[in-house]
């Protein structure tokens, strides 16, 4: 094993709880199998559902005959796209990015056209799963097959099959008069790119490509819906945001949001892919028709065929530098797969491309491209890893041409606080240079390499987010506290919330318990995504806890008959600091049994729209060993350095960094969607969609750099997304260092590496 994780702290103050590693409050249930996840919930009298999916990548639905299925004994309801109410276009911002509810509804059940193989067209509910599957097989769908298109450039070509006749390219002025598969174009930058490139001492030019990849959460989507005759409904599901499930489901079914109560079950991974809905409205329709709760769950194959992958990409990069290594110009133009419906990764992709360098002349253009693949959905730093792969590969190539150490080249050009981002907005207190310095000082950077080994590095960043969260902190009758949030805990955030509450209240960690309430039991909270939860919901926790302290102090003042400002909160106790009662103390446990009967229970709400988030930066160092006879690449050492602001619970911060790095390594080496010429997915399972297994990897050395965020009470910036950004290029650069060959196309699987090493065949 490598050395244990290390931390590099820049924070000024010491904390009592922040930065400790207690056992997470939901831990015991999760190591004993008691925790209930999406597929684990069952309701009394529940029916089992199954979905009929399109075998064609693009076809018009001529007719759907459900009679045979309906007459099968045990079948209680059948649903098709016609069961949705008539919907008007409405763009909602609920998950990671915006979605038009018409598209959300059509993706749940197609209406006129199927747009990808695996697109849902009908659903049944029956008394057993076997009957439901049999009934699904009896639904006869007549299709008129249409020409389909999978590739980015093919979809933009003149005469390409058009997916939607009502989509006109957004972001183009004037608005185009013809519909297009290009759903959106985003451009940022400034200066004279062509002039600067022409005058540069050294330039590199490259095209980089990749197919879509999947988030790969181990828990398939599942839900139970129960829609009562009075119009009120309950949905039990796992998601990254049960409020998003509520608002999207209510919108596509034209229901008041207050009539839907969504119960958050434990979530078995999401990585952005569970910020939308697929099954919930369908289960609702089946429940309404049958008068019973209905369960819908996907198989792994359905997850691969029908849920959001991250877009594949074609990326063209040109970068120029002066002879001393000063970057003078960058031109980046990329196209991303939207899949079946307009997607929004291009915006974040443009913002995440080259902003980590000071470059005077830049032009970054991203285009979203519709094609006959499942609708792309957010995947951990959505839009950033693809373009970063291209940019950080090109920067590495530039360092080689310049004869400058790649770490020094990055340091020389690294953006710091006050430098403009690509959008022109100046960076806040970012920790990019601190990461580069930490890399330089890390023993990995100077460790000797063995035969056929090479070392690569790459840096990247993600903007992070804040946004709305609601938190309630309540005092119990014995002086312990409950923290109630609306933010699903996808990786240990209950522990982080309890730590921040304990820190604020000055009480032991074990005296604070955190739960996640359903949509009717707490106010609105945005999805757990965008690396926002520990920052934004954490900020609300601190605000509510501070108010609890204030209220309790005022109660003590009342009890002691002193002025409110004569009572202070000290280490979980109320202390009288003035007057004749000076020095009198009362503990929370002592006052707690009485407060409810004084002026009422103490329960404080913080509903905030958290501002002041800061982006995170990371720098990864990767050593590969390449079997030049077979093209196999082994990751022999890996160090991931990241500025997180403050690590509230370092175990889970390191875990995010390690997990993100490994997802990136999988993306780099083997993961990819493989479509046949028939437009059908050829690898819809974990056998041929090759995510890394334990024996593929070394330990991942996570180095936590702490440059605190001044706009968070404990300095939090956000962690989860940054670590998937640098690995693609870090691995590619390491392969280049080991072999002298640069692979511009992902994945860098053994056959591709072999082909690069043996061009003669």
């Amino acid at each position: 094993m490598n050395a244990p994780e290390t931390m590099k702290q820049f924070r000024p103050k010491e904390f009592r709880h922040v930065g400790t590693r207690p056992v997470r409050p939901d831990g015991v249930d999760k190591v004993t199998g008691r925790a209930l996840y999406g597929p684990d919930f069952k309701a009394p009298g529940m029916l089992w559902g199954a979905i009929v999916r399109s075998p064609h990548p693009h076809a018009r639905i001529v007719s759907i005959d459900t009679k045979k299925a309906e007459s099968l004994p045990g079948v209680k309801a059948v649903a098709t796209g016609k069961d949705f109410p008539t919907l008007q276009s409405l763009v909602m911002h609920v998950g990671e990015g915006a979605s038009d509810i018409v598209h959300v509804a059509r993706n749940c059940l197609a209406l006129d056209k199927v747009l990808y193989e695996g697109h849902a067209v009908a659903a049944v509910a029956a008394t057993t799963p076997e009957i439901a599957r049999e009934a699904a097989g009896l639904i006869a769908v007549e299709y008129e097959e249409l020409p389909f298109v999978l590739g980015l450039e093919e979809a933009l070509a003149e005469g390409a099959p058009l997916l939607h006749d009502d989509v006109f390219t957004k972001g183009v002025d004037p608005k185009p008069d013809k519909p297009s598969n290009a759903s959106m174009r985003v451009e940022m930058g400034g200066g004279d790119v062509e002039g600067a490139l022409a005058g540069a001492a050294v330039t590199v030019t490259g095209r980089y490509t990749m197919e879509p990849v999947h988030q790969g959460y181990i828990e398939p989507h599942a839900c139970v819906a129960s829609w009562g005759g009075d119009g009120q409904a309950q949905i039990w599901c796992s998601s990254q945001g049960h409020f998003a499930v509520r608002s999207l489901t209510a919108s596509v079914l034209a229901l008041p949001q207050a009539d839907i109560r969504v119960m958050p079950l434990e979530i078995g991974g999401g990585f952005g892919g569970k910020t939308t809905i697929y099954l919930e409205p369908v289960a609702m329709i089946l429940s309404k028709k049958s008068g019973r709760p209905v369960r819908l769950a996907m198989t792994r194959e359905e997850v691969f065929r029908a849920t959001g992958p991250a877009p594949g990409a074609v990326i063209d990069v040109r970068i120029g530098a002066d002879a001393d290594g000063t970057l003078v110009a960058a031109d980046v133009e990329f196209k991303y797969h939207s899949g079946a419906y307009p997607a929004v990764d291009a915006g974040a992709g443009v913002a995440s491309a080259i902003g980590h360098y000071k470059i005077a002349n830049t032009r970054v253009v991203g285009t979203e491209v519709l094609c006959n693949r499942p609708a792309a959905k957010a995947y951990r730093a959505p839009g950033a890893p693809q373009v970063n792969f291209a940019v950080e590969s090109a920067v590495d190539e530039l360092a080689g041409k310049l004869g400058i150490d790649p770490l020094e080249l990055r340091l020389k050009n690294a953006a710091v606080e006050g430098d403009p981002q690509t959008s022109g907005v100046p960076w806040g207190r970012i920790g990019w240079v601190e990461c580069l310095e930490a890399a330089k000082a890390h023993p990995h950077w100077s460790a000797p390499l063995g035969p056929n080994q090479g070392r690569g590095l790459a840096g990247g960043y993600w903007g992070n987010y804040g946004g709305p969260s609601t938190v309630v902190v309540s005092l119990t009758e014995d002086g312990t506290f409950t923290v109630t949030t609306g933010s699903p805990d996808i990786g240990g955030s209950r522990a982080a919330m309890a730590i921040m509450a304990a820190e604020t209240l000055g009480v032991p960690y074990e005296q604070v318990r955190c739960v996640i309430a359903d949509t009717s039991s707490i106010g609105f909270s945005m999805v757990t995504g965008g690396s926002r939860t520990t920052f934004a919901t954490g900020k609300a926790v601190v605000e509510a806890a501070r108010e609890v302290k204030q209220v309790l102090c005022s109660r003590a003042a009342k009890m002691w008959n002193v002025a409110e400002d004569a009572v202070e909160w000290q280490d979980g106790e109320m202390v009288c600091t003035a007057g004749e009662k000076e020095g009198t103390r009362i503990t929370v446990a002592q006052i707690a049994p009485r407060v409810a009967f004084m002026s009422g229970p103490v329960s404080c709400v913080a509903g905030i729209n958290a501002a002041g988030w800061l982006p995170g930066f990371g720098l990864h160092i990767c050593d590969t060993e390449v079997d030049t006879e077979t093209g196999h690449v082994k990751i022999v050492r890996y160090t991931a350095i990241q500025d997180v602001g403050t690590a509230i619970h370092p175990d889970y911060v390191e875990g995010q960094i390690q997990g993100g790095a490994v997802q990136g390594i999988g993306w780099a080496l083997n993961e990819t969607y493989i479509y046949g010429e028939n437009g059908k997915l050829d690898n819809p399972g974990f056998l041929d969609y090759r995510m890394p297994v334990a024996s593929d990897l070394p330990m991942i050395d996570a180095v936590v750099v702490e440059v605190p965020n001044p706009d968070h009470p404990y300095g939090v910036k956000g962690v989860g997304e940054v670590p998937i950004v640098p690995p693609l290029a870090a691995v590619a650069n390491a392969i280049h260092a080991a072999t002298g060959k640069r692979l511009n196309s992902l994945p860098m699987s053994p056959d591709r590496v072999y082909a690069a090493l043996h061009p003669e065949g």
Binding site: V28, P39, R300, I490, E654, G655
Partner: protein, 166 residues
């Protein structure tokens, strides 16, 4: 097709259930016996989330017909903690933060315990290869491997450490 009656010993107790002839052991555990700790991540033996010990050997319960378990002895995640105290593997998963979402965790714990039951002193490489049938998408495996190595070290000592009640 009528259902098949199956008698087993499940986590030390007699357990009977009825199953469809083509139902998997995982289906029976989750849907007939109400033990949802074993998870279905793939249904094809490629993720290990459904790992149980059947007649002394760990298997993917999705790759066993429920009817095959007749007369068999099954241990699931629900039976790993003994005497209401966590097993050292469970304890070390908590102490190392070796789980994030926790969905794959039951399968990993059953598999890791099966390893340590036969090999009290595995190398890191042995742990990694033994657990290669269990997919985790959250952790990158680092903390899982450390937790298993640490649990092995503790099991090699005679004195039981402080453990959390299950």
């Amino acid at each position: 097709m009528s259902k098949i009656h199956v008698s087993t010993t499940l986590n030390g107790d007699a357990a009977e259930f009825l199953c469809d002839p083509s139902a998997s052991l995982l289906d029976a555990l989750r849907d007939e016996l109400g033990l949802t700790g074993s998870k279905e991540g793939c249904g094809s033996g490629d993720c290990g989330a459904c790992t149980v010990v059947l007649d002394g050997e760990m298997v993917c319960s999705c790759l066993v017909f429920a009817a095959e378990a007749e007369g068999g002895t099954i241990q699931t995640i629900e039976g790993v903690a003994e005497s209401a105290v966590l097993h050292p593997v469970q304890q070390k998963f908590l102490e190392h933060g070796a789980l994030q979402c926790g969905f794959c965790t039951p399968g990993f714990i059953v598999a890791a315990k099966a390893l340590l039951d036969r090999n009290p002193d595995p190398t890191e490489t042995e742990v990694r290869y033994w657990l290669a049938g269990n997919l985790c998408r959250c952790t990158g495996y680092d903390k899982i491997v450390r937790a298993v190595m640490d649990a092995a070290a503790e099991l090699r000592q005679d004195r039981p450490s402080e453990r959390t009640p299950a």
